[in-house]
Subunit: 335 residues, 2 copies
């Protein structure tokens, strides 16, 4: 059932088997599986996630490669609702462990916000990451191209950049090393720091050896039209012509609501076992939040794994359903 | 490119980066990723795989739950071809390790068969399993219902069996234990051995305690119409009415072509690392052939992982592509 301000009261006395924070690929896959395991679950989606920005899902089996991410999300939301999952647009502010349950505090509505608290036995952290983008005065200028031919994922979109003149947009010297993987796809790489970081002599020498020019002036704006970026104009008026771009500026991890938990991490990524269980036995993490590849296919499989682990645990601790004599007489017909 | 008898000669002198045995969900996902990593790959599909039998992909994110497996496979095949993978209908008879390459011997064509040998650096075993079905004199009677409401996967289709009168078709006493998981979904379970195995006193007592009747007569035929199974008629003329069924009779693993390799296994399943690499460093295994859940979502992610591991290894052993002065002058325009 789709929840909103007007009807969410119905669920405040219910303890969900699982609450899933994030309605992206991983979260929706988890919801579909959980619901099909006849478990109650609630997906809480804050909106504007990473897969919503994807203009083309170029590498996900079963969908034509020009399918926008939003189409997959819409289909998945309908699918989850059709098998009995609950879905709520809201922002999870905090999760607290009550022993056998978690209390999940949500902000619902941007205006006249309300702050309901939902309860669940298991928590699935599927809230993902969002890529940092070049910070310009006019961010709309960036959004016009990000997700089109200004890419954020080398694994997803390296192929699209094949042998094209590519700007690599970085905000740290370390991120420049992305060039030495990107060059599998194209050698025509220009490094653009926009003046956000300093670059040492060793890196300059390495770039020179590879023939990759370095641009350190601040960016004024991206050039292009119809969502096709054709270059960058710097504040000094100079222009760098490009055919494509890759932004490698790190990501923001949406996991502030887990602040009360000292979960094991590897850098920013949550460490999980083979079933996506974190170091807390009742918290699972999926997709981009955890270690491993940031791919739709991986998140979808993660949802499968976490849901199955939760189901196993709940099933094994539940009494078996027997076929009583009454039921047998009513339902079985042996002619 | 789609290969066939008339054009496959073109590829006999080529060493593929990878050959993928099996064009199911895992194999096609691997092909899409490998091709997008600009690696050459060939998918060899024998036909009639497990996902082709699926009438409804009920739990795969992004596709409506009434999507037939064959639609996903068709889309995936087109997708892989569109990014440059090769695809051949054929049966892989044997793989031999030549040191840096594998020789893959294929039977092509059921009539006037030819036996080409293709070569590759990496092998991806994605040939899956097929479920054993009750063996009746008229197998068409079984095929009329298998994949419809006579299911083979509890995880995929338990939900469809919820609270229905379900026949559990087994061919070993051990398989009867499936009932004690199936009963999460329905308690109205009738065990049907068809006389294929003996059942000990302990199991009989356990079934009696749960109220699950046991039918040990040989099966004459399934009853029903329009692919909807409504029961079983035994050879003694008695009829068991059912609303659904689950076949738990084990599976055949399609991995005979790996006979020359002493790969590490766990029962029938290949043991792999977190990137789907088997105990042979250049052989990967995906989906149902390996340990873990037999789910489309898992196979698709496995394809992503194996392709990425192969790409990493080939990339790291390749010289970096530099932007030479000539190229720079031709391609870079800094106005």
């Amino acid at each position: 059932m789709k929840l909103a301000k007007k009807n969410l009261d119905e669920r405040l006395n219910h303890t969900y088997d699982a609450i899933i924070v994030g309605g992206g690929a991983g979260g929706l896959s988890a919801a579909i599986y959980l619901a099909r395991y006849r478990l109650s679950c609630l997906v809480i989606e804050k909106g504007r996630g990473r897969s919503l920005w994807m203009q083309h899902l170029t590498n996900y089996l079963g969908l034509p490669p020009d399918t926008p991410g939003r189409d997959m999300l819409k289909q998945g939301q309908e699918h989850a609702l059709s098998v009995g999952a609950d879905y709520l647009n809201g922002y999870v502010e905090r999760v607290t462990d009550e022993g056998d349950t978690f209390a999940v505090q949500v902000k619902v509505g941007k205006k006249d916000s309300i702050y309901p608290v939902f309860r669940c036995k298991y928590l699935v952290a599927a809230s993902g990451i969002i890529d940092n983008l070049p910070q310009l005065g006019d961010m709309q200028n960036v959004y016009n191209y990000a997700g089109y031919n200004l890419h954020v994922c080398l694994i997803c979109d390296g192929y699209e950049m094949s042998d094209k003149r590519c700007g690599l947009f970085v905000n740290s010297e370390g991120a420049i090393n992305t060039a030495f993987v990107l060059n599998w796809f194209t050698p025509y790489i220009s490094i653009v720091t926009g003046g956000t970081c300093t670059v040492g002599e060793e890196m300059r020498a390495k770039l020179a050896k590879h023939g990759y020019p370095l641009y350190e002036q601040p960016i004024a704006k991206f050039l292009g039209r119809n969502h096709e970026m054709t270059g960058v104009e710097f504040t000094d008026g100079s222009v760098l012509e490009l055919e494509t771009g890759l932004v490698a500026m790190g990501s923001h991890y949406f996991s502030e609501y887990l602040q009360d938990f000292d979960l094991k991490r590897d850098g920013n990524n949550l460490v999980t076992d083979e079933m996506c269980r974190t170091s807390h036995p009742r918290i699972f993490a999926l997709g981009d939040l955890k270690q491993g590849l940031n791919q739709v296919s991986i998140a979808v499989a993660d949802g499968t794994l976490a849901a199955t682990a939760i189901w196993r645990e709940i099933r094994r601790s539940s009494p078996p359903r027997i076929w009583t004599e009454n039921v047998k007489q009513r339902d079985l017909s042996l002619i």
